[in-house]
């Protein structure tokens, strides 16, 4: 791709961007949210048409003016959100739109056989006649990959494929990717996780604000250099954390279980502490927190808040006890996308400015502004629709919403997922400020570096049980993985 420019009303989304991918390499595409990665990929995939620029495949200039043209040129894209039909079988999904026909009818047997052959050839332990809805997320991703391969793709684009699968599954994904590159497929790999670059990528191209910044060979560069390229400045203190001696115990949980994902979790949190919860996806971390926040009706076990035994029946009660929970999936569980920043900021504390039929809208704005300032959220006005903000700023609004409830214990479930590097660093600094003021934070995260750098102590979970607690002095990636994988 050479000199690609794409203009949207009011913004130049891509400005003279070039990208070269060699056959058989994994080429990482890095950049903060809004840097133009997705737009570039969409131009390649024929979803957007660029105003300027040319695309060459194997030295030949091609015109990509639609998704069909992209497919015909051997380009396949695996989107971050999987696009499979859950009520159809694996084979039906793979051949969707180009089913093998037999006199006007779909030849189901042939289709299933061909799909199974493709799956087997790539070492995937999936039945072609299984319903896609019954597969795990990781398996569904494999189906997407097989579907892409079945187009005889020369270029495969993967948009954050590891954001929702566990480490074991990531390993298998990487193995599959290596198999593909060995066959000469060029892979464009988009990810926010720096650690993955070293493992799987050969070269990396960095974008910023819709412009090309540079291309590096992964083995000849390092994380700090790449981050500096992404943010355009040196990030000296990526993690901000002033460790202090924690105070008395504010929350003690004994043998928490929801009878399903969470089996036996006992732990305690002290005042002014950040406690990390590590583990693989599905280890039951979020489920334990849901019990504490009153979202699970019939949990068993004990919860003690500041020495008092309580049973939390619903989130309203949890808030009264001083607990707040920032959920894992911002889009599905946090945002009111079509509403303003103001609405999103104040929905938990309506009682503070609405008394019966009287509304103190000045107070409403004051509350909103307080948290915009405190978290340095970037929004043009309070009336801006939250859906128009970047992921990092959306997350700040959601964190502000819960801070407004004045919690003593703040539970952050994957607080930096889908948040760009600059905003991540800011969120860490905010967490540091909060615990300095005496708040206690529980942070669930699948990103080990942030767990290790931010936490006073780390609890590790595996299959619903807490398998260990690591002190700040003992914590390391290896130690966590050992407890997490068992």
């Amino acid at each position: 791709m050479k000199g690609i420019s794409k203009r949207f009303p009011g913004v130049l989304a891509l400005n003279n961007v070039s990208l070269t991918v060699k056959a058989g390499e994994v080429h990482a595409l890095l950049g903060e949210n809004g840097a133009g990665k997705s737009t570039l990929i969409k131009v390649l995939g024929g979803i957007y048409i660029a105003e300027e620029g040319e695309i060459f495949i194997e030295g030949k200039k091609v015109t990509i003016d639609g998704v069909k043209a992209a497919q015909a040129n051997g380009i396949a894209i695996i989107h971050q959100e999987l696009v499979l039909v859950p009520y159809m079988t694996v084979a039906e999904n793979i051949f969707l739109g180009r089913e093998p026909m037999n006199g006007g009818f779909v030849n189901i047997r042939q289709m299933t056989q061909e799909a199974q052959a493709l799956l087997d050839a790539n070492g995937m332990n999936i039945q072609a006649d299984a319903l896609v809805g019954s597969l795990t997320i990781a398996q569904q991703q494999m189906v997407e990959i097989v579907k892409a391969i079945s187009f005889n793709s020369k270029i495969l684009v993967m948009d954050e494929p590891t954001s929702s699968i566990s480490d074991k599954e990531v390993e298998f994904l990487f193995k599959t990717m290596r198999g593909l590159t060995a066959k000469g497929v060029g892979i464009i790999y988009i990810s926010h996780k720096m650690s993955e670059l070293e493992q799987i990528c050969d070269r990396v191209t960095v974008m910023r604000d819709g412009e090309y910044v540079g291309t590096k060979v992964v083995s000849e560069t390092n994380k700090d250099e790449l981050i500096a390229m992404m943010v355009g400045r040196e990030l000296t203190n990526y993690y901000t954390r002033d460790f202090q001696t924690p105070g008395e115990v504010v929350l003690r949980c004994g043998h928490i279980s929801d009878g399903k994902m969470a089996k036996d979790a006992s732990f305690e949190i002290r005042k002014g502490e950040i406690v990390g919860f590590a583990g693989l996806v599905g280890a039951g971390r979020s489920e334990v927190m849901k019990c504490i926040f009153g979202l699970t009706k019939n949990y068993t076990g004990e919860i003690e808040i500041e020495g008092k035994k309580v049973h939390v029946h619903n989130p309203i009660e949890a808030m009264k006890y001083g607990i707040a929970l920032v959920p894992e999936n911002r889009k599905a569980e946090g945002l009111y996308k079509v509403q303003s920043v103001k609405y999103n900021s104040t929905i938990e504390v309506l009682g503070e400015f609405i008394k019966g039929i009287f509304v103190d809208s000045a107070k409403e704005e004051a509350i909103t502004q307080k948290y915009i300032d405190m978290l340095s959220t970037k929004t043009p006005t309070q009336e801006q629709l939250i859906g128009n903000l970047s992921g990092g700023n959306q997350q700040k609004v959601i964190i502000g919403r819960w801070l407004a409830t004045n919690p003593k214990i703040l539970i952050l479930d994957e607080p930096t997922r889908g948040v760009d590097v600059g905003a991540k660093s800011e969120i860490y600094a905010i967490m540091n400020e909060l615990v300095k003021k005496g708040m206690s934070i529980i942070m669930i995260s699948s990103e080990l570096p942030e767990i290790i750098n931010m936490s006073d102590r780390v609890y590790v979970m595996n299959e619903g049980n807490i398998t260990g607690c690591l002190d700040r002095t003992e914590v390391s990636q290896e130690a966590i993985m050992q407890l997490a994988a068992n």
Binding site: P315, P327, A332, E333, V338, E348, I354, V359, A362
Partner: protein
């Protein structure tokens, strides 16, 4: 002003602009007849039920694009019960009104229970209600028409020949003074509320709308109010039904925009999971929306039988469609979480003007339906397309 600002303004006031254009079109086509005082007055009286039902429907739609198909049948059933009580059983008029309200609200609660707590899809629940209460209306009325002779009831709900607020001030021929005074008072109250709001903001140092556009907006709105009341005053004054509509519009406009419960409707429609996570009882929000719909259907039922001075088993047919159409034309989102009471009123007025204009022009009733259907589709297409444009 730059182009982007103008475009944003056009987008914000699309339906008002459409309403003005449509009104101008019919003024031209009917030779100005549509603006005659009598026609303006009729526009309000004829469409009172639409305003009331559309307001209730908005709450249902806000919760996630859910509609209530049963309202037409409920309107008919409530009317049938009331007429039978008042006329055939000789029950006191106040008792009858109370019974009608209770019946409507109970029907709403019945459907709301299945929707909110058993999670039966609203479409199915209210489709059932539509059949059940249409059938029961026939049973109650035994397939006959019951005339309403109780004058008090008819007057109270704005029906019959003399359905106007009497002129207390005894204005001269051709101008109802009370009506004019009410118009002037309405303007004054509006101006005071706006100015006080601005002053409060200025005092606390918050930013506010620039003075010039705010003033322009205020003047335009006052002129519209005065022109409207002047037209009404030239005819027979304020239609009684207008009072009911105004009360409903103000109360529900306030509830949806200012109260805690009002915000919960938007929250449930915007993101139900997030709302649950906030500890808000989402089931209760659904329950309130549909119970309230029954309550407003009862009010619409009373307005309908008063206007017709009778109850018939066929009343209320397609009322649900008028209400739903008004909501979507007025900018409510078919996916929930978006829509306002003023918007819905503009939508309902737009439909009303189109109806009235075509009737005056003598367009065949069947073609009127065709036009209404296409307008609804056009409004939603515009909504969908303009949203798509905004996303990129």
């Amino acid at each position: 002003m730059n182009k982007a600002k103008v475009m944003a303004g056009v987008k914000k006031y699309t339906m008002i602009i459409a309403l003005i254009l449509v009104t101008l079109f019919f003024t031209w086509k009917t030779g100005g007849k549509i603006l005659l005082p009598q026609n303006i007055s009729n526009l309000v009286a004829q469409n009172a039920y639409v305003f009331v039902l559309a307001t209730g429907m908005l709450l249902c739609i806000l919760t996630g694009g859910n509609i209530d198909l049963s309202v037409g049948s409920v309107v008919c059933f409530v009317g049938a019960v009331g007429a039978t009580l008042m006329e055939n059983k000789g029950v006191n008029v106040w008792v009858s009104i109370l019974v009608m309200i209770l019946v409507g609200t109970a029907i709403g609660a019945w459907q709301a229970f299945w929707i909110a707590y058993v999670h039966v899809p609203p479409f199915i629940t209210t489709l059932s209600g539509m059949l059940v209460f249409r059938g029961l209306s026939n049973v109650v009325l035994q397939g006959l028409t019951v005339s309403i002779t109780n004058e008090f009831f008819v007057k109270l709900f704005g029906g019959g020949a003399d359905c106007y607020v009497p002129d207390f001030l005894g204005g001269g021929e051709g101008l109802n003074l009370t009506c004019m005074i009410v118009g002037v008072i309405a303007c004054a109250v509006y101006v005071i509320v706006i100015l006080r709001g601005r002053m409060a903001r200025a005092k606390k140092g918050y930013e506010m709308e620039a003075l010039a556009p705010a003033m322009t907006k205020m003047v335009v709105i006052c002129l519209v109010i005065l022109a409207f009341t002047y037209k009404l005053a030239q005819y027979k004054g304020i239609p009684t039904a207008l009072i009911w509509v105004m009360v409903v519009v103000f109360v529900y406009g306030y509830i949806t925009s200012k109260t805690t419960v009002g915000r919960y409707f938007y929250a449930v429609g915007g993101n139900e999971k997030a709302t649950k996570l906030s500890g808000i009882n989402t089931e209760r929000v659904y329950f309130i929306a549909y119970t309230n719909m029954g309550f407003l259907a009862a009010l619409a039922g009373m307005l309908t039988i008063a206007r017709m001075t009778s109850a018939q088993p066929t009343y209320g047919q397609n009322y649900e469609m008028d209400a739903i159409g008004s909501c979507f034309i007025g900018g409510a989102s078919a996916y929930g979480g978006v829509g306002t009471v003023p918007g819905v009123i503009v939508g309902a007025v737009l439909m009303g003007v189109i109806n009235l204009g075509m009737s005056i022009m003598g367009v065949d009733a069947n073609y009127q339906k065709v036009v209404k259907g296409l307008v609804l589709l056009a409004a939603v297409i515009f909504d969908v397309v303009s949203k798509k444009g905004g996303k990129n």
